[in-house]
Symmetry: C2
Subunit: 222 residues, 2 copies
């Protein structure tokens, strides 16, 4: 029964996601959906990323959390317009749904944006199932989370277009096999780009930022 | 609509959870539901914990993951009976539901057990909403996940009876305020016991193990 119910919710979501996709195409905005476990360093990564993208790429952010406005406050320091969505206003959802994105996007300056970054709710399971009308999905995994997460949460790694392996500055202090993690990512999603970064030290962040810029430019050129 | 649907699923779950609770009471088994983000160190913590509990406390484990049997294989090394549940057989659920626990428990030697430990699916949101018939809920948070997680995922910290702050061996290498984390936990759930441990070095693990033993003995004495 539960499965059938979930299917119906997802159908409604997909319809809304297509409406979002059309809106973002009309406005010529590239949309990135960034997902991860809680605590993988999404917000720090995005803060450093946006600082490198702006002002060349006019960027806005929708931040999803069950509760608090902490992440929006952190990201607002970049100067980008930021909307915080608290899903406890939507039944405590464990993901951002397409209708929530539509509501949040309506408050953003869509005519003056090149890029919308959505920082999803911290969760490696549910957000993978919800299309929000994005162009690309990205998963962030930190090296403290262990090597086997791509195998344990395969849908997330299958649906994403790129993976970030974050907190590489901690590698000397961990019993952790980075190569095994990357092999596990590629086993689930052969050929997926993997960016090894430290958001704290900013190591490796340029390749990731260039990947975004290339994607935005490609959409704009269409 | 989504909220109403979820409510119905939860009502069905609560009925099944009460049946589980009655079964475990009849068999005089104490049941612990352990939840966290992916990669917080649940499995390592439980491996070290079970090694200290057995053979005094006859322990069995139900391990939930979306996919893989990695964690069951790791925990089986303790000698405890272990059942792995893969929720991709149940629609890819992001949590263990009560009916899944009932099915898994039927395969365990219930007449020869004092303690059942359930390692839930790695997720700080959804498992908090699903009663599985447990006696106590515990949340594991690792110090690499940042200070604000109790505020961002308040339901999880509100419903749990104890919290573990894991990976304290990494504190020297992090920009992290442990005291702030603990204050955030206690703000959401005043008076909740907080165990600061390193599952890797086994620092602080005895207090946590004693908390379990006290709980098991208290249920047995009823």
């Amino acid at each position: 029964m539960e499965v059938k119910v979930v299917r119906k919710v997802l159908d409604v979501n997909n319809t809304m996601a297509e409406q979002n996709r059309k809106l973002f195409a009309d406005k010529n905005i590239f949309v990135l959906n960034v997902m991860s476990s809680p605590g993988s360093g999404k917000t720090t990564t995005l803060g450093k990323t946006i600082a490198r993208l702006m002002p060349e790429m006019r960027t806005a952010v929708i931040v999803g959390d069950v509760s608090t406005t902490n992440d929006a406050e952190r990201l607002a320091k970049t100067g980008a317009p930021v909307v915080q969505v608290n899903t406890d206003a939507f039944g405590g959802d464990c993901h951002l749904a397409a209708h929530v994105i539509a509501t949040a996007a309506a408050t953003l300056p869509l005519d003056d944006m090149d890029l919308l970054i959505v920082e999803n709710v911290g969760n490696l399971v549910c957000p993978a199932e919800f299309d929000i009308g994005e162009d690309r999905k990205v998963v962030v995994l930190s090296v403290t989370e262990g090597e086997d997460k791509p195998l344990k949460y395969p849908l997330m790694f299958r649906v994403c277009d790129a993976a970030i392996v974050n907190k590489i500055d901690l590698l000397p202090y961990l019993e952790y096999n980075k190569q095994e993690t990357i092999e596990n990512i590629l086993q689930v999603h052969p050929g997926m780009p993997v960016f090894e970064i430290s958001a704290r030290t900013e190591d490796g962040i340029d390749d990731w930022v260039n990947w975004i810029k290339d994607n935005v430019r490609r959409k704009k050129a269409l």
